[in-house]
Amino acid sequence: MDYFIELFLGGLTRGSIYALIALGYTMVYGIIQLINFAHGEIYMLGAFTALIVAGILTMLGWNQVAILVIASIVAVVYSAAYGFTIEKIAYKPLRQAPRLSALISAIGMSMFLQYYVLLAQTSNFLPFPNLIPDFKFLEPIEHIVRSSEIVIYATTAIVMVLLTGLIKFTKIGKAMRATAQDRDMAMLVGVDVNKVISMTFIVGSATAALGGVLIASHTGQINYYIGFIAGIKAFVAAVLGGIGSMPGAVLGSLVLGMSESFFTGYISSDYEDVFAFLFLVFTLIFRPSGILGRTDTDKV
């Protein structure tokens, strides 16, 4: 039973990590139907920014919690600026072009950012300091769940609730939903579509950066390539849950994380990816738009 709980919590951590990245993916897709392949790179940039800021602050002798907060804020702001700029440079000029062109532009952007960090920083793995303090009350069960995991679970839940609230109850959220439904019509009724799309990228990038900081702090190492694999997995999770849906992204991520963890634990980790993708294939056969995806027909 202990083993089951440990695998469950491990899967929950994995799933929450995917979810923090998948939320941004699914949000951008929901609004402009673009698979933003550069999203994983934003996550990686967030981690690198936090590493640099944390390094400086540690030298200045700040305490751990202050470093965590400041590093996260700087990483979030910096990455959001990247997200905003990427949209303006790589996607906005292609908004009227076929969807495939924007997709290729996204792949190009992803490679650009990877190799930019490779050249500007290093190709080696770098140690990432443990920014999340060890909670005293967790000591007796530390071998089962670490404080960084608790922080990741909590952050994922909070981010999901906040984003859902943003979209359901605020004015900009309403404008986002309108843009998602019909961009031209939204423009006609006076919605500033450019602003809405920029906002989407800023929010999406901010969540990815937050994910980057927490996950890097949990795993303890980063390099320029971490965004690619995490990004692909998060994308799969978003599709599994129903791309465009916030709760779907979280659910899909948890299902993916759990299934990988249990498959590794009870069968074999040799084929964990095979199993994860088989699961995706079967889900999509029976529910083509994902677990929580809307099954409305494509707009014509």
Binding site: Y18, F125, R146, I229
Partner: protein
């Protein structure tokens, strides 16, 4: 045009034959010990083969200056195999035709394997400075083959011996990163453990490189009750697994290979790296012979030696020493001497085991202590 070509080729063929005949005539007359040197001396992989020629030249020069072997001067017969098995058989045939006494080479495992059958039929001892394929010695098919480099499975053997005899663990988990290098090593380690029957392989798994977390695999190691993990792969995965284990308060020993014996591993894993074992090439820079060989190379060619230079230097010394000690160029006598007589080389004082691998050549075990790797004596 066509005719012209044919004429040129014919002319070339005649001259070559003529030169060969004259050369062999000359050497027969001079009565020398002939050391064949085979390997890639042109083409893409020439950089692997040429240092061996240089090593042989240096050794031969020195030995001839001291009066040669069995009172006769040593002569080099150099043949190119461009690292291709189909060429290597021709190379071997040529060297046999030149009636060489022993052969230094070949360089690539594939070419070596192709050539060995021909030498075996002619009863010629062959010693490679670089062919690492385990089967060349272990299959027992080539009793005439020796080498001065450790075979691919030597690291796995060392890891297993260390775990069983020094750490004395009974339950071992074998993990790998699914890559050629890591999985290859893990398969050997598993095989050796199963053959030894002193310990049980409680877990054999591949992990996915780059995955966000290895928590599930680590839980599995914990549940398996393994006292030690043998990991085949590189340092990014190793540091993630070690950190996850230590953060989960597991004291399981971690033993890995020269993909992990890298300072980046210690830098990334930090305090968690303490106590990790990893195999790495033996440090021979302190050997007196090493500096003699390197200095001789610098003096003669004005540059630092290339790949496998020291291994080739050691092999040349071992071959010629065996002829000298056995007092003849007879195949059985040379084989006996190689296995019995120790010879001082840059790789240390070596002889060869029953299968033809040099003893004491290869890898050492290192352990992380205070943020650096130290050799475990």
């Amino acid at each position: 045009m066509m005719k012209n070509h044919v004429r040129k080729i014919l002319a070339l063929a005649f001259t070559t034959t003529f030169i060969c005949l004259t050369l062999s005539g000359l050497s027969l007359a001079a009565d020398t010990i002939k050391l064949g040197v085979a390997g890639p001396h042109s083409g893409d992989l020439a950089s692997y083969g040429i240092p061996t020629i240089k090593a042989a030249e240096l050794v031969v020069k020195e030995i001839n200056a001291k009066g040669g072997v069995l009172g006769k001067p040593v002569e080099l017969v150099v043949e190119d195999d461009v690292c291709k098995p189909e060429v290597a058989t021709n190379t071997a045939t040529k060297l046999v035709g030149e009636s060489v006494n022993v052969v230094l080479g070949h360089i690539c495992s594939g070419a070596t394997k192709a050539a060995l059958g021909i030498y075996k039929d002619s009863k010629i001892v062959v010693m490679s400075p670089s062919a690492t394929n385990p089967g060349l010695t272990q299959s027992g098919d080539y009793p005439n083959f020796y080498r001065t480099i450790a075979s691919d499975d030597a690291q796995a053997q060392l890891e297993v011996d260390f775990a069983l005899n020094i750490l004395k663990v009974k339950k071992i988990a074998v993990l790998h990163d699914k890559g050629d290098y890591g999985k290859g090593l893990a398969e050997f380690a598993k095989k050796f453990l199963e053959e030894s029957e002193d310990a049980e392989v409680v877990l054999y798994e591949g992990v996915t490189p780059g995955a966000v977390s290895y928590a599930a695999v680590v839980q599995k190691i914990k549940r398996s009750g393994a006292e030690a993990v043998i990991f085949g792969g590189y340092h990014p995965e190793a540091s993630k697994i070690v950190m996850e284990m230590r953060k989960k308060k597991m004291k399981t020993l971690f033993i890995s290979d020269d993909g992990v014996k890298d300072d980046t591993f210690i830098k990334v894993a930090g305090v968690y790296a303490e106590g990790v074992y990893a195999t790495g090439p033996k440090d021979v820079s302190q050997n007196e012979m090493t500096s003699i060989a390197n200095d001789a190379h610098k003096a003669a060619y004005g540059e630092d030696p290339g790949a496998f230079f020291l291994n080739a230097y050691a092999a040349s010394l071992a071959l010629l020493n065996a002829i000298e000690k056995s007092g003849s160029t007879d195949y059985d006598a040379i084989s006996m001497a190689l296995k019995k007589e120790y010879v001082d080389t840059p790789l240390g004082s070596i002889r060869f085991d029953e299968k033809g691998d040099a003893t004491g050549v290869g890898f050492s075990m290192y352990r992380v202590k205070n943020g650096a790797y130290y050799e475990v004596k």
